[in-house]
């Protein structure tokens, strides 16, 4: 899956995740903590695309999250967080996964949890550095832990759906390392 279809898949999943995150999930908020659907989407995409694409996707999704209506924080914080998430998850998946295999379900969960932790932490740390909302470290840690817990719960569904959306096309996945042609021995 390359090029246009991948772009379309990215647009659809990111926008859907954003809309769900700001409209539907506040109804199921747990102490105000809402699952980071956009983040999980980036994680799912990073599992099945190449790290460069995942990095760029994370950056753009974060930028969208930064400027989409309810956002009031300093712009660029989610962009940085999701970029890091995309890069790290993409890199890990790329380095430690056999090329053609679809990521296994437990792996999706673990990467979802890891991505959620990394993303929330980076976001919280940038907040601390910028003193954006002047919230103490302890409270931020509580929120991060709650968010990660909620994210893992939601990742049960969101990550597989994203993985499916990004790998619908059969055939060799772009992320895989194409084996070199066997070297011909010099005559």
């Amino acid at each position: 899956m390359r090029g246009t279809s991948r772009l379309v898949a990215a647009l659809i999943t990111i926008f859907a995740a954003l809309l769900l995150q700001v409209t539907v999930f506040p109804h199921f908020a747990w102490d105000g903590v809402v699952p980071d659907l956009v983040l999980l989407t980036v994680v799912g995409a990073a599992l099945v695309t190449d790290p460069r694409y995942a990095t760029l996707l994370g950056f753009s999704a974060g930028l969208l999250l930064d400027i989409a209506p309810p956002a009031d924080h300093v712009a660029g914080r989610w962009a940085l967080s999701l970029m890091v998430v995309g890069y790290v998850v993409g890199r890990l998946a790329h380095d430690h996964q056999s090329a053609s295999a679809r990521p296994s379900y437990p792996l999706m969960l673990v990467t979802g949890a890891a991505g959620a932790f990394i993303g929330s932490s980076v976001f919280a740390i940038t907040g601390l550095l910028l003193r954006d909302p002047a919230v103490g470290f302890g409270e931020q840690l509580q929120v991060v832990v709650a968010a990660v817990a909620y994210d893992v719960l939601v990742a049960l569904v969101v990550v597989p759906v994203t993985v499916w959306a990004f790998s619908r096309e059969p055939g060799p996945r772009p992320a895989q390392v194409t084996p070199r042609a066997p070297r011909r021995a010099p005559a």
Binding site: T23, T49, D50, T55, F59, I67, A75, G76, L130, A187
Partner: protein, 312 residues
């Protein structure tokens, strides 16, 4: 002989990819891309954080709001009926419980609401009683009216909840925040009976406040009567004027009535042609149908006694 023009066969050159090419082939982002993205994020944060309200991000946010706002509203409208379904589903028991709880809450609130005005009135009465103690300068033993005599007995008496335990004796003056109520005619250990000044048996020495003319204030009996009190001046030649205030003249030794307590004001004046005198009808200051807090004038202070100047 022919020349062999074919290029010499040689071993294919083993092409070694540079690290960058290898990375690109594997789909890894180049280092420069990563650095550029991180710098972009940092620059955006710095610009947005440092420029405050007129940040260049604001117009972008507004634009995003124009686009994404309707989308969010649409999704929200779409989703709300679905989210409302659990609220609409209740078991009969749930609903019964809810009704019971609400009824209970309603009762509590009603009771509070009813009590609120009552308590406010009580507070006002006590306030005015304290003010009366201040203005007349008497020690007042507070009491509540706890019983009203019936009209069938043709007497206008009330029971108050203070008796000899509070130092009360017969022939003490009873007043409230508005003016003179009556005098005590009998006491028991915890209650006393008060003869109201509107009783037909009651005669109070009064004087017109502005002219100091003496007269007698007599009750006419009956709470519903339009003309509850009569004033007859001792000097027959003087005509009372409408609106003049009448206060107690005071008895010798302060019993049964102390001096200077307002009784009422002249509302009507009749000329008694046969006697050649004038009879004035007094409108009492006290509303005798809603007596609640009263004070009994006692000679000295004591526990629970309102002293003049205590609540100023």
């Amino acid at each position: 002989m022919s020349l062999d023009t074919r290029p010499p066969r040689q071993a294919p050159v083993r092409k070694v990819a540079t690290a960058r090419e290898r990375d690109e082939e594997r789909g890894l982002p180049s280092r420069s891309l990563l650095v550029a993205l991180v710098l972009a994020c940092v620059a955006l944060m710095v610009v947005d954080a440092s420029s405050g309200d007129d940040s260049p991000v604001a117009p972008v946010r507004r634009l995003a709001g124009e686009v994404l706002g309707p989308a969010q509203a649409g999704v929200s409208n779409l989703i709300n009926p679905i989210l409302g379904i659990p609220d609409a589903l209740h078991t009969n028991g749930d609903l019964r419980d809810q009704i019971r709880d609400l009824e209970k809450a309603n009762q509590d609130l009603e009771r509070q609401a009813n009590g609120a005005t009552y308590n406010q009135h009580r507070l006002e009465e006590w306030d005015r009683l304290a003010a009366q103690a201040n203005s007349t300068g008497y020690f007042l033993a507070p009491a509540h009216v706890v019983g009203n005599g019936s009209a069938q007995s043709f007497s206008n008496t009330v029971t108050i909840d203070a008796g000899t335990d509070a130092g009360l004796r017969p022939d003490m003056t009873v007043l409230n925040g508005d003016g003179l109520v009556g005098r005590i005619i009998s006491v028991s250990s915890h209650t006393s009976t008060v003869l109201l000044i509107i009783d037909a048996r009651s005669t109070v020495g009064g004087r017109i406040g502005d002219t100091m003319e003496n007269g007698m204030v007599e009750g006419r009996g009956g709470l519903s009567d339009d003309e509850p009190l009569d004033l007859e001046l001792i000097d027959h030649t003087i005509i009372p004027q409408k609106g003049q205030p009448v206060v107690t003249r005071g008895s010798e030794g302060g019993a049964p009535y102390v001096a200077g307590v307002p009784i009422g004001e002249v509302s009507k004046v009749y000329e008694e042609l046969r006697l050649g005198t004038y009879r004035a009808v007094l409108e009492p200051y006290v509303d005798f149908t809603s007596l609640y807090a009263v004070g009994v004038v006692v000679p000295t202070g004591g526990p629970g006694v309102i002293e003049p100047g205590a609540f100023e």
